[in-house]
Symmetry: C2
Subunit: 423 residues, 2 copies
Amino acid sequence: MRIEIICTGDEVLTGKIVNSNFSHISQKLEDVGLSVTWGTTVGDDRETLLRAFRLAADRADAVIVNGGLGPTVDDLSQEVAAQAAGVELVLDAAWLARMEEFFRRRSRVMPPNNRKQAMLPVTAELLDNPIGTACGFALDVGRARFFFTPGVPRELTRMLEEQIVPRLLARSGLQTAIHLKRFHSYGLGESHVDALLAGVEELVPDGSVKLGFRAHYPQLETKLTVRGTDMDDVRAKLEPVEREVRKRLGNFILAEDDQTLEGVVLAALAGRQATLSIVETFTSGQIAARLAHLPGAERVFRRGVVARALDGVSAAVGLEGPPAAGALTRETAETVARAARRQTGATHALAVLIELDDGADRIDLGGTICLAIATEQETASRRSRILGGREWIRLGAVELGLDCLRRHLQGLPVHERIDFEKV
Amino acid sequence: MRIEIICTGDEVLTGKIVNSNFSHISQKLEDVGLSVTWGTTVGDDRETLLRAFRLAADRADAVIVNGGLGPTVDDLSQEVAAQAAGVELVLDAAWLARMEEFFRRRSRVMPPNNRKQAMLPVTAELLDNPIGTACGFALDVGRARFFFTPGVPRELTRMLEEQIVPRLLARSGLQTAIHLKRFHSYGLGESHVDALLAGVEELVPDGSVKLGFRAHYPQLETKLTVRGTDMDDVRAKLEPVEREVRKRLGNFILAEDDQTLEGVVLAALAGRQATLSIVETFTSGQIAARLAHLPGAERVFRRGVVARALDGVSAAVGLEGPPAAGALTRETAETVARAARRQTGATHALAVLIELDDGADRIDLGGTICLAIATEQETASRRSRILGGREWIRLGAVELGLDCLRRHLQGLPVHERIDFEKV
């Protein structure tokens, strides 16, 4: 099935906003085994919109149009859709009532120009928008089925999942039970994970499990898309593959599905009524900023300290005198973590200390990272070298620090070598 | 002049990466008074690429193609360009030599498949890429001039500015001296600034100054695009408008052109050999993270402290006993800032303390912000209320804290009311 996306709106066309709706739609379709073949971006211009609709209707089986469903004069999607399909616009009384109710519940009166949002092509099928005033709709233009969606990202997301993906799957003849299983890891590159997972798809011989990746340094997302006749069938197919992925990636899996690394760390600490203090240098507060603001963190997060020089770190955690010059070692990090724990009364302290190489920023600039995690019983630590410039080192060190804490809390070794470090 | 953009590549089409190159190109053209009329996104597929090129050649005067110039088999731009133009590919010996030199200087031997990057359509004009191996090129397809650019953002940016924009301006018949002047502000909304600046364009009656905005909360960018016969003419036209914008936006202008708020603050501190300590609560390290990692910050940044509770803040800065319950006031922030300054020996201390409203996150959740800046001579402070949910409050408080510090360092009042606060 050939699927196209048309993104409309002057803000997108002029680059005032980055078009993340396009990649969102495209990824969602990939996740269920569908593919987009063509993307078009046009502004709020009647003639151009009509031309774009007609071209897509000629080429595609299904077209998703995003944007242009708002109440203002430059929102033209319904009008041009009707024109392209050669039909009239009529008032959808049920949607008008829904909109009036929407405003009433917010103690507001519906402005008259919102009425426009209930005008739909007479042959259109309404697509519900439970969280906004722009209803979506589906409509045949030529031989293609068009799906019109709102530009507001959370409204689009919901309509896509609940209304459009099921219709596209039904039209495509694909089995309709689909599940996307996601694993998040840190420390292994995409090609390494690809090699480690060689053959896992074949554990289900009928080809209904598809493996994919999405790399966003420093994390990697490993995705399993599973298709089946129903959810029981999907679960049965997923189970052996999922088990194998967990076995092969092992300790590197830091979270699954909608979990995040910081969420996992926070939950592990909260679950044992633990508290955390953090000491940072070149990461400059980014480690604390990943978790200290989360709901629930106010009961777990004790203190964060940032200093750029080692003597500043020592002073901040109440150590006497600066460490010997050039002395960044695992032991330094251990001493600092223990001191931070004592000083703040936290059950856990994480110290991530970094020494940057000398000189200006460049692609092969390196940094030495010494980190330690102290509890009442013990202190774990590791040393790493990361090359790749200031920003790369900073991002890597934030993730390394949080991931080692995750490993420690889960009783896993903190030393396993990662692909991003040089030895 | 009708300009189109064609973005190529499976990674963009499938949504694996968000297409920020499109908005970058489009914004750059807007900034010099040109407009994009149509955008197309297609994958690495010969037939689809050819179709996209031909459609664009029919509609447009100029077409910018992005991506597909790499050394691998799925990089098809040169081949399909030659096919669309009906000409042969030939080896560009000069570019081949440049590439070999490129590798030699990095002590590497050029892999044989990179040779492909020097194969250009015989009628093509080479567009220099001083920082990569993918040369760009320009070529007529039908009645349109095509410009082929690399997908790597920094290579694209440079080629666009140095090679393509001048050619497009020359073809468009627009006067070729163009300057973009930018002002960054915090605290005034886009429509407010628009109203404040009413009429400034008319200070130059020939219409050669254009006013525009780009809002990225919490900051707003105000842009003046000036066209003239040469740079002297541009400067003469810009001068009265620029002066008027500075006068009307006054203290709200925090930086101009490529400056950043954190860069301005850091430079102001470094310029007077000052040092800075920061105390944060719900912002969770984000304020420190904006400046402590910057080159040069190691001499300025003394210490950052994060704690989520007021008694944790007091303990961290060495104050005796917790403040009275529910006692977040300007005075609390002043006491904390003075203590942090004393404790760390910094010349300046910034304390940004936040009390979030109770309850789950929601669009009208509010936060009370009390911030103070302490120096040896004095302590300045302010209290603000921001509504808009946890993330909105956090972003706003980071900016408010840094901007008040900027104002203090520049001898400006820290109390001026901002549009984002509720009173």
